[in-house]
C-alpha cells in the first residue's frame, strides 16, 4: 500500500489513481432531492462548532414531526472536510443530509 497521506486517520489508505480527465470531481454524483420526508432517513451533520447542536436539535424535532427518521453525525473538527469514512457512512445510512453551520 502506498504511504500517501490519508484523511481517515487510520494510516495506510486505499488510494487509487484517477483514470479520468479530472474535469469533474472524483466524488460520486449527488442523489436527487427528496420528494417527501415521509419515511426518509435524514442525517444531521454537526460540524463541531459551538451551538451547532442546538440548531440541529430543533431540526431533528421538525423532521421527526414530518415523519422522517433522523440520524446524528459529527465531524471531528470544523476546520477540515469530513473524513472519507464518515461521508461514506452517511451516504450508506441516509437518504439526505443536512450539514449545520454554527456560531
Amino acid at each position: 500500500m502506498s504511504q500517501t497521506t490519508t484523511t481517515n486517520g487510520r494510516g495506510a489508505a486505499r488510494v487509487l489513481m484517477d483514470p479520468t480527465s479530472e474535469r469533474s470531481p472524483s466524488v460520486r454524483a449527488r442523489v436527487p432531492r427528496l420528494d417527501s420526508l415521509d419515511g426518509a432517513t435524514i442525517g444531521l451533520l454537526d460540524i463541531s462548532k459551538p451551538r451547532g447542536d442546538l440548531f440541529l436539535d430543533r431540526l431533528e424535532q421538525g423532521f421527526r414531526a414530518r415523519g422522517a427518521d433522523v440520524k446524528r453525525y459529527k465531524k471531528p473538527t470544523f476546520t477540515k472536510p469530513a473524513p472519507v469514512d464518515l461521508r461514506h457512512q452517511i451516504a450508506v445510512e441516509c437518504d439526505a443530509v443536512v450539514e449545520a453551520l454554527a456560531d
Binding site: 500500500m1 502506498s2 504511504q3 500517501t4 490519508t6 484523511t7 481517515n8 487510520r10 489508505a13 486505499r14 488510494v15 487509487l16 489513481m17 484517477d18 483514470p19 479520468t20 480527465s21 479530472e22 474535469r23 472524483s26 460520486r28 472519507v84 469514512d85 461521508r87 461514506h88 457512512q89 450508506v92
Partner: protein, 481 residues
C-alpha cells in the same frame, strides 16, 4: 535515485551485502577482516546477522540500497565527506585492495567472482520501493476510498468501468505499468475525443492497469491510442455514430509473440489476456480520458460486443501472404498496430471449394452483404482468411493481390440491381446509377489478414464504417518501446 531523504553513509568503507549470495558468503571473512582492521560499515539486505564477525546494519527495508543505487552485491564503496568516491561491484581482489588500501585481502579466495543482483533492483520489489522512497512521479489525482467502501464497487460508482470489473489502479500498479515503456509519464500521447483532452502516458498506464494489461502490453496500447486519435481514424465520429462499429486492433510484428497474443484458434474470442486487455485499454482511455460514453456522445443503436475489446494478432508465420502491415506500407518485421473501424465479425462457411476461383466467389457473395447488398463504396471491410482456406490459395499460387483483384472484379455490380426499388427494396443507390456498373468496395477498401485456428474451412468478414475523409480510414502506427 532520489537525493532528498537519502540516508547518509558514514565516511570510510561501506559494503552492501546479502546472505542469499554466494559471492557475499565468500567475502564474509574479508569483511570481518576489514572490520577488525579499523572499520567498515556493512549493510545487509536480507539477514542482519550476516556476515558473522561484523556488526552489520539492517537494510532489510532497502532504504540505503535503493537511495544509493546499489545494483549488485557485494558492493564496496568509499565515502568521503558523505559523498561516494569509489565503488567496486562483486569480488575482485585487486580492485578491493586498491579501494581499501589494504593488501593481502582474502588469502585463499579466488581472484574474482561476479556479484549477485541487489534486492533493491529485484523486479518484484522495484515498484514498491519506488512508491516508498521515490517520491511520486505521478501527477494523477488521488482518489481515496472509504474504509468500508468496496474498491470494485467504488470504481463502478465513479463510472470508470465499461461494465466489467476493473483492476484497481494503485500507484504501485501504475508505476509497474509505466515500466513497460521508455516514455516519460508526463509525455502527451494524443488528444482524446470527444472531450479533446490531452492524454499523458501516465493516464494511458492507469487505464491499462484497470483493463488488466501487463506492462509489456503498454507500448501497444500507447500506439493504439495515438492511432485512434488521428484525424484520419476519426475516433470522434466512430464513437458518435449510430452504427455498430468501434476500433478493431490488428497487431503485426514480433511483439505479437513476445507478449503472447493470439492469432490462432478463437482469435476473435475470449481467453487471451493480451488480445482482450489491449483492446479494452484503448476503449477505457476513450471512455475515461476522452469522456466517450454510451448514451452520451456514443450514440450507437446496437453497438457490438467488440466495443469492449476487439484486438488480435495476424498469423504471419502460417500465412501464404505478406502481413497486413506490409500491405499498408510498413517494413516487414516492424511492430505495428493497425486500427480499423469495424463491426463484429461474421462467418463465411465454405467447406466444399477446393479451387481458388470457387472460394473467391464464395467470399465475394458474402462480402457483397456488408451492411446491405445494395449499398456500395461507402464501407470498407476486412476479410480474415482462415488457415484452411488460405491453403487453397497457397497451393494454387494465388498472391494476396491476385485474390483482392479477383474479388474486386467479382464485386462489380450492375446498377440496375442497386438502385432504389430494385428487388422490391427501397434502400439502394440513386436512380442515376441504373446504367452504370459499380464496385462494392473502393480501391484499397478491402483489407486481407490471415488468422484463425487450423481446423475449419471458414473465413470471417469484419464490415467497416463510413470510409474515407467523411468517416474513418484504417490507420497503421509503429509500436515504440
Amino acid at each position: 535515485m532520489s537525493e532528498s531523504n537519502r540516508p547518509p553513509l558514514p565516511d570510510g568503507l561501506v559494503a552492501v551485502v546479502k546472505r542469499d549470495c554466494p559471492t557475499c558468503e565468500l567475502v564474509a571473512p574479508v569483511l570481518a577482516d576489514l572490520a577488525q582492521r579499523g572499520g567498515i560499515a556493512v549493510y545487509t539486505q536480507d539477514d542482519p546477522s550476516f556476515p558473522e564477525g561484523v556488526d552489520a546494519v539492517d537494510d532489510t527495508a532497502l532504504a540505503v540500497s535503493w537511495h544509493w543505487g546499489i545494483e549488485a552485491v557485494p558492493t564496496l564503496l568509499r565515502v568521503e565527506d558523505g559523498v561516494e568516491t569509489e565503488r567496486a561491484l562483486g569480488w575482485h581482489r585487486e580492485e578491493w585492495e586498491t579501494l581499501t588500501g589494504v593488501t593481502g585481502l582474502g588469502a585463499g579466495l579466488p581472484d574474482w567472482r561476479p556479484g549477485c543482483g541487489s534486492l533493491s533492483v529485484d523486479p518484484d520489489r522495484t515498484a514498491d520501493l519506488e512508491v516508498r522512497y521515490g517520491g511520486s512521479k505521478l501527477h494523477a489525482r488521488r482518489v481515496e476510498l472509504a474504509e468500508l467502501e468496496d474498491e470494485f464497487e467504488a470504481m463502478f460508482d465513479r463510472t470508470w468501468s465499461d461494465g466489467l470489473p476493473l483492476v484497481p489502479p494503485t500507484e504501485k500498479r501504475v508505476l509497474a505499468m509505466l515500466g513497460g515503456t521508455k516514455r516519460s509519464p508526463e509525455e502527451i500521447v494524443a488528444t482524446v475525443p470527444p472531450d479533446l483532452v490531452p492524454c499523458t502516458v501516465e493516464k494511458v498506464a492507469i487505464n491499462a492497469v484497470m483493463a488488466g494489461c501487463k506492462p509489456e502490453y503498454l507500448p501497444v496500447v500507447i500506439a493504439a491510442v495515438e492511432a485512434a486519435c488521428t484525424d484520419a481514424f476519426n475516433m470522434h465520429g466512430l464513437l458518435a455514430t449510430t452504427m455498430p462499429t468501434g476500433p478493431v486492433l490488428i497487431v503485426n510484428g514480433p511483439i505479437r509473440r513476445a507478449i503472447g497474443m493470439n492469432s490462432a484458434g478463437n482469435v476473435f474470442g475470449q481467453g487471451n489476456r493480451a488480445n482482450l486487455t489491449i483492446g479494452r485499454a484503448l476503449q477505457l482511455v476513450v471512455r475515461n480520458v476522452g469522456g466517450g460514453r454510451p448514451g452520451e456522445v456514443d450514440r450507437a443503436t446496437f453497438g457490438n460486443p467488440g466495443k469492449v475489446a476487439f484486438c488480435f494478432g495476424e498469423d504471419e508465420e502460417g500465412s501464404p501472404w505478406q502481413p497486413l502491415s506490409v500491405d499498408l506500407g510498413a517494413k516487414a518485421g516492424v511492430n505495428t498496430v493497425t486500427l480499423f473501424p469495424g463491426e463484429g465479425p461474421r462467418s463465411v462457411v465454405d467447406q466444399l471449394s477446393r479451387d481458388p476461383e470457387s472460394l473467391a466467389r464464395s467470399f465475394a457473395v458474402n462480402l457483397r452483404t456488408v451492411h446491405h447488398p445494395k449499398l456500395i463504396l461507402a464501407f470498407d471491410a476486412i476479410l480474415a482468411v482462415g488457415p484452411e482456406h488460405a491453403r487453397i490459395f497457397r497451393e494454387a499460387g494465388w498472391s494476396k493481390a491476385k485474390l483482392v483483384e479477383r474479388l474486386q472484379e467479382l464485386l462489380q455490380i450492375p446498377g440496375r440491381e442497386l438502385v432504389r426499388g430494385a428487388g422490391g427494396i427501397a434502400e439502394g443507390a440513386p436512380e442515376s446509377a441504373k446504367d452504370a456498373t459499380l464496385p462494392k468496395f473502393r480501391p484499397g477498401g478491402l483489407l486481407v489478414v490471415h488468422c484463425g485456428g487450423g481446423a475449419g474451412l471458414f473465413s470471417s468478414i469484419i464490415g467497416g464504417w463510413v470510409n474515407q475523409a467523411i468517416g474513418s480510414q484504417p490507420v497503421l502506427r509503429e509500436i515504440e518501446a
